[in-house]
Symmetry: C2
């Protein structure tokens, strides 16, 4: 139990916790998006998992990219993305970062306020601007309402202002909220976008971009509908609202593209038998809310967990992370059933952890190192990690 | 507004966001702890702020250290701390990390379960063990109940088992919860500890350590009582429970020692005027919940904020961070009053941010770099950062 549990690779030896991202699974999911939403351009939301090898792999597949910051933009450029294939989707940007993006050749910028539009006009003359409208986020695990977006009337006004400022008034975006379980949730946003289009077309503008955002779900412990259901619902709503005058469609999946491809390997540090039989066992892992599992907050995201003892009897446990922080408890209100044989030193695997994990890690809270991400699959790419074998991980 | 806002130092140029930690203020607060709790050994809880220069500075002041992990232990050793002055206070440790600490000369380890005690017995023969008892955490902003600690009966049993396993049954610890506003909160823990002492003394043990934990508060936007009130309440309770047979006292302040010494400098990225006059302005900073302000979750910790326009008229704002995450909102339910003149490009200062900020930063969520910490004061130490001047920061 006290020996290390390394993972052999050609050039890297990793100990838990670490995240393995299967690029073959990403490729399959990318193709599934293409089949479900033909004609929609896919802009990968880099924030979901900014692993450089993943981004380079997606460049190879022909993906485009939605970035939230200058460092994400630089990452995409370094990975080989063309500037024209990058959308700066944050509505909150520093002027110097807008100017940098413009100099780099990025053409497309999001806004939802007059103050942000004025920055774009100053720092990115001639750029394409799309305006984000609010969306309630109903049906989503992570509603986005109020922090971003404006009303349809304000959006129309901003597009007119953009045009008057010499910018290209490109279109409208909205976001139905992350991990959206209802394929019908896009309908309201598409209707709102159509209303904005009508308002500004009446004033002579010709917007041509409808950004449907992200929100496509991962498979955690709930049943989610197939992507084709989402595609069907979206195409139906676009046809109903826009008829033959259909704009260019773009989607920004992050979680929906990469979450299912990730498996987080963690070691059990302690199975606590405090105070005898009162209450469930506490199982402490070497990863927790500050080491990559931030989305367990509120227990909304419930990662399936696998161990080497899954055939034996199970009982409820409280699952916690390794830090001294009282908030570092993963699942308590709805305890997991884990094997009675589970003990310190065992490795457990948390599935569908490819999104919003490694990039959420703290730099070193309580001294624990950030979660590392290793990409497998894509043997053509070569390089470190391409032959990761979890040789010593007996699960 | 689009120019950079660097901070000049002898060898470092920093742009916002960054944290400045004033070591002179730390020195003063350290002395205040000495006056308020004479005779209690101070073990700094490194997790609150693991800046290497801070730790080295505290070594110079004669502090001891409470560590939560092997990397924190290595940090203290590298900063010059003696192994005998380090307490491994986490009750959740890997066996290989216990063995490493033992080999390094660390003598003192915390436990709250039989499984953890067995690890210590195997990997750190002869070590001092202290047992953590539960504490409700009432009166604290961050109660720690249930994740750590055991009953007094279990604690007595663990100390007896420790003795039987050839370990030194050193004593008892408890923690009243972080940011504890009630100086009387230590009373119950001290009474519980005394009960454990009585139980094991009746069986022939001679424990001599009472670890009073942390919980000493920082000055956020609430009035907190002076440290001397905490010292008086603690000494009174120890005298009442232990009489002339007073054990060695130790305290583990983290937040209470360093929070007030920190000032976080951040730039306003956007003041949003969405939808006209409906509701408060939204002010977006270049730091948020994922860049160091994680403790704004639930709006319990309210950092005082200073701007260059504080003499002018103010109105309510919602304060948010720069990421695309909907959870990255700092204060919404209880809006701040900020100047009407505040605009993008202005620098704001968040006070009392020296604890649980930089070490909580994500590695790069949404691409934003982690918060940097620069130490000022202590000119004797020299080196980078010793002459930081916020030359261009006009606040």
């Amino acid at each position: 139990m006290s020996d290390r549990r390394p993972v052999s690779t050609e050039s890297v030896e990793l100990c838990t916790p670490y995240l393995v991202l299967d690029l073959d699974a990403v490729r399959e999911r990318y193709a599934e998006f293409g089949r479900a939403l033909p004609g929609a351009e896919l802009f990968y939301a880099v924030k979901a998992n900014p692993a450089p090898r993943l981004v380079a792999f997606l460049v190879g597949l022909g993906a485009r990219f939605d970035v939230a910051s200058r460092p994400e933009l630089e990452l995409c450029l370094a990975a080989g993305a063309r500037p024209a294939d990058i959308s700066y989707g944050s509505t909150v940007k520093k002027e110097r970062d807008i100017a940098f993006a413009h100099r780099s050749g990025v053409r497309r910028f999001a806004v939802d306020s007059a103050a942000e539009l004025a920055k774009i006009a100053r720092c990115a003359p001639g750029a394409e601007v799309f305006v984000r409208v609010t969306c309630t986020g109903a049906g989503s695990c992570f509603p986005l309402d109020r922090k971003f977006g404006c009303s349809t009337a304000a959006a129309a006004s901003l597009l007119l202002d953009a045009d008057a400022a010499g910018l290209c008034a490109a279109g409208v975006s909205f976001h139905v909220g992350s991990q959206q379980l209802d394929p019908g949730a896009w309908r309201a946003g598409i209707a709102d976008a159509a209303e904005v289009f009508r308002r500004v077309r009446a004033r002579g503008l010709r917007p041509d971009l409808l950004d449907l955002g992200g929100g496509f779900p991962a498979h955690y412990d709930t049943q989610v509908r197939p992507l084709s259901d989402y595609g069907d619902a979206i195409h139906e709503a676009v046809a109903a609202e826009f008829g033959d005058d259909r704009p260019e469609l773009m989607i920004e999946p992050g979680r929906g593209l990469v979450a299912d491809a990730g498996t987080l390997h963690s070691e059990v540090v302690l199975v606590s038998d405090r105070d005898g039989d009162a209450g469930p066992r506490w199982v402490y892992l070497d990863v927790g809310r500050f080491g990559g599992l931030a989305e367990t907050e509120g227990e909304l995201v419930r990662y399936p967990i696998r161990t080497a003892h899954d055939d034996g009897p199970r009982s409820p446990v409280v699952l916690a992370g390794p830090t001294c922080d009282s908030a570092d408890v993963l699942y308590r209100r709805h305890p997991y059933l884990l094997p009675d044989d589970l003990c310190a030193g065992d490795v457990v695997r948390l599935l569908h952890t490819g999104a919003y994990t490694a990039s959420y890690s703290s730099v070193g809270f309580n001294g624990f190192a950030p979660l590392r991400c290793v990409c497998t699959g894509d043997p053509a790419a070569g390089g470190p990690g391409s032959s990761v074998r979890a040789a010593n991980v007996a699960v």
